[in-house]
Symmetry: C2
Subunit: 285 residues, 2 copies
């Protein structure tokens, strides 16, 4: 029994075929252009197989509220051709099989929690710190969602005394994403993170903001483990800096697991999202 | 079929008898002294009835992790005789019936969400801003808990430019609780909130911090409604000030219900906690 999976990113689409053990059987990837052209590539790939179900983890914001008129749509995105596009509807029109629908970061959270660095735990989180900041949470084994999916990157953080940067979030300026996602480095220094020395003070600023966010997630959700991914977390020593800030800010207020088991790197690397979409497909069957 | 309910506060205990419709049949209250003396009063009251189950909402922090050695204990509390007291154990020794166990604020959240101002909704929150700040969340109809209960009062907030106060939280100084719970008014002005003029700038500071916290809860949990209770929310105009700050800080980033239906006052007033404990008792049966 095969399932289809999509990791729909703003830059590229990854499509895969998986089996009931959540293994990746086949995998392709192509650039994200217009919905028509991109979906034609998706269809060409999936049409080769007889699929029992499909799982989609999409860039967003998306509408995941089943009782909403725009359920299955991509909502306000700067990628104009995709704005208000009925992604799930277009997939359902082509394939009369169950289709699971969530955000890209939720899919990655599912992947990491079921088969990656948080495997075996029931209350976990995955956060990606890259071009933007997003996170997904698993609460009691299920993806957390209320009237919509979380937008955990937009917490308001306490500015660092020595950090004069105003932040790049178009909504909030200096929210977490505005101050700690990758482009904030370019915004401060005019060059990309990979070209910034490991001792530069900017890493201290960013880990201070990330540490604050981790305190918020910790006191609100009390997860068993938080997996930290995304390009920024690849900066040398970043995870250690974040751990230090987090510890010092939490000030032992609530008990957490041993720090090295609490804040961890992803286990599935680039496959977290697509693996999560396969899991979603197997769950929706 | 009757159930017993306890709202165990640090100052007073409320005990009640409820029916299967979650109605309060009988209700008593007495001061919180030592565990022995206080529980004697609880036993004297409950012993008059034949109870099917009991629900307890207790001051804390408490251990709600069923796989923990200290499950059912009150943990570190400044109320020394209660520290490390096996509250649930003492109740179970007396009564061989199912006993539900959660925090006082979780019980109030349950009460407000099932029968109060958030009735009929599946994703809600209750926050109390009083001597301290605590909150409980209902996610998909169930109380949110990970490796422990939330401690949502200890979010780190962005200090207001004009607020020189350092905060009274013994762990964090200027966290949400340290800056916006009732004692912060005494800390700033040397008098209690009820004696402070409605136009005083302190209300602006406090509503700024509360608004930030509401943004965090909103982007992380995406609830359908947030109920705001506790003494501080009784200050004239406070709810309106909080709404204004929240709106301006969220900056329309995520869609929320109409503001007047989103941030609301409690529906059960003083009965939220004890009603929640009755609901808990009926659920645990
Ligand atoms: N080694 C690094 N150190 C710091 N920042 C990095 C590093 N590698 C990539 N980044 C930053 O991470 C961002 C890209 O994140 P990534 O997770 O790869 O992509 P996306 O978020 O778009 O999916 C860019 O802003 C980039 O500058
Ligand atoms: N009208 C009011 N305006 C501002 N603060 C108030 C008001 N009434 C009570 N408070 C403050 O609320 C706190 C008590 O909160 P309350 O919810 O009644 O009790 P507790 O949190 O101890 O259960 C005290 O710090 C008190 O000063
Ligand atoms: Zn933002
Ligand atoms: Zn604190």
């Amino acid at each position: 029994m095969l399932v289809g999976a999509i990791e729909a990113g703003g830059t590229k689409f990854v499509c895969a075929i998986g089996n009931e053990k959540n293994e990746i059987i086949e995998r392709v990837s192509f650039p994200t252009t217009t919905p028509e052209e991109t979906l034609r590539s998706v269809f060409n790939f999936f049409d080769q197989y007889s699929l029992a179900s499909i799982g989609i983890g999409s860039f967003g914001p998306i509408d995941i509220n089943e009782s909403s008129d725009t359920y299955g749509y991509i909502l306000s995105t700067p990628k104009i051709p995709w704005k208000n596009f009925n992604f799930l509807g277009a997939m359902k029109e082509r394939y009369s099989i169950p289709i699971g629908w969530t955000t890209d970061v939720n899919a990655a959270a599912l992947g990491e929690s079921k088969l990656g660095a948080a495997k075996g735990l029931k209350n976990t989180m995955y956060i990606t710190i890259g071009t933007g900041i997003g996170a997904g949470a698993i609460v009691n084994g299920e993806l957390l969602a209320g009237i919509g999916h979380p937008e955990m990157g937009h917490l308001l953080v306490r500015p660092h005394d020595k950090d004069g940067y105003e932040g790049f979030c178009p909504y909030h300026g200096n929210c977490l994403e505005g101050m700690a996602a990758g482009p904030s480095i370019n915004g401060r220094l005019g060059r990309a993170g990979k070209d910034v020395d490991v001792d530069h003070e900017v890493w201290g600023f960013m880990s201070y903001y990330i540490g604050q966010a981790l305190v918020a997630y910790t006191v609100i959700l009390r997860p068993e483990r938080i997996v930290l991914g995304g390009g920024v977390m690849n900066a040398p020593g970043m995870l250690e800096k974040v751990k230090k800030q987090f510890s010092s800010l939490l000030a032992n207020y609530v008990p957490i697991p041993e720090l090295d088991n609490y804040l961890v790197k992803p286990g599935l690397r680039d496959n977290a999202g697509i693996t999560g979409s396969i899991i979603l497909a197997n769950e929706v069957k």
